[in-house]
């Protein structure tokens, strides 16, 4: 089969697949979905935002596994760290590139506090309106990356116990809080109606801090300039 004929065959197959998908999307039976169910039980969830109610109450294990996956990714990235003696690049992180521009140096001191406030607001707003731990955590992570970029006296040291507690704290607190309902004979992660509101807000606080740290650690986790021996080991 020539190249041209193969191309035509592939495009025909792709077109047929796309047409099939469109056809089935158009002919989907009208399903009520779960929106009604969530709406009816919203009051029992402890928060007013339907999305947060699903993420942190009705389907809390989903979010629990999500933060677990994120932590695993960070552990994977940090495990690529070269040995005990840290290269300067590991602690200077992204500042190992060109000199930070004056604009960045001027901008960061103004921007970082604002970003911290926005992250806090997103965390707090998450219980009533769109927002929450992941959005807040991302803003926090972006602020930390800005700090690292500007080469200020801030670094993420993977070997420090405090760093490890910070990065894993969200998951650990989530797990601990999830185990509490077992004391009264309820299922794991089944918050009691009375305490669900405060539990969710506290878990989201922990998640926001940990997610921010994890995302920043992912960006700077491995030194940009690995020491010579790390490179040599991989070459044939």
């Amino acid at each position: 089969m020539t190249r041209g004929a193969a191309d035509i065959l592939v495009s025909l197959l792709a077109t047929a697949l796309a047409a099939g998908l469109v056809w089935s999307a158009v002919h989907l039976p009208a399903a009520p979905g779960l929106a009604g169910l969530v709406e009816r039980n919203l009051e029992a969830s402890g928060v007013e935002s339907a999305v947060t109610a699903v993420l942190l109450n009705f389907r809390a294990y989903d979010t629990l596994l999500e933060i677990g996956v994120l932590l695993l990714a960070v552990i994977g990235a940090l495990s690529l760290h070269p040995g005990e003696e840290l290269s300067p690049a590991a602690t200077e992180a992204l500042s190992s590139g060109p000199e930070p521009s004056p604009m960045l140096m001027w901008f960061v001191p103004y921007m970082v506090p604002v970003a911290f406030v926005i992250a806090g607001y997103l965390w707090w707003a998450g219980s009533t309106i769109p927002g929450g731990a992941f959005q807040g955590g991302t803003v926090l992570g972006a602020a930390l990356v800005l700090l690292l970029l500007s080469g200020r006296k801030f670094s993420i040291r993977p070997e420090a116990v405090a760093t490890r507690l910070w990065l894993s704290g969200g998951l650990l607190f989530f797990l601990a809080a999830g185990a509490v309902p077992m004391v009264t004979g309820d299922a794991v992660l089944q918050w009691s109606e009375e305490w669900s509101g405060i539990t969710i807000v506290l878990i989201e606080a922990g998640l926001t801090l940990s997610i921010g740290g994890c995302l920043a650690a992912l960006v700077v986790g491995v030194p940009a300039h690995p020491p010579e021996r790390a490179l040599r080991g991989r070459r044939p």
């Binding site: 590139g97 769109p130 929450g132 991302t138 972006a142 990356v145 940009a224 490179l231």
Partner: protein, 89 residues
């Protein structure tokens, strides 16, 4: 009037989405990464139009922002490694 404007906006957005996803497969990796970020921001707008502000925020922050930064960082490291080997670029 407002409905027509919304429809026109949605149609433009859909076309831009298709355009950006085509551009994101560019052979020039830097261009591909930048277009991937653009695609994420456009998708975020699309989520907003579909009435899912939560998804829109996550898409913009994680899909476009964080993934974009990680991809750019990876690109920088790859380039540095190639220079070290004395290869092209």
């Amino acid at each position: 009037m407002t409905e027509n404007l919304g429809l026109a906006f949605d149609a433009t957005l859909a076309m831009l989405l298709v355009w950006a996803s085509a551009q994101a497969t560019s052979r020039d990796l830097f261009r591909a990464v930048v277009m991937f970020i653009v695609l994420g921001l456009l998708a975020s707008l699309a989520w907003l139009r579909l009435g899912a502000p939560d998804l829109a925020m996550t898409e913009a922050a994680v899909g476009a922002g964080l993934t974009g930064v990680l991809l750019l960082d990876t690109l920088g490291r790859l380039r540095w490694k190639r220079q070290k080997r004395g290869g092209p670029q």
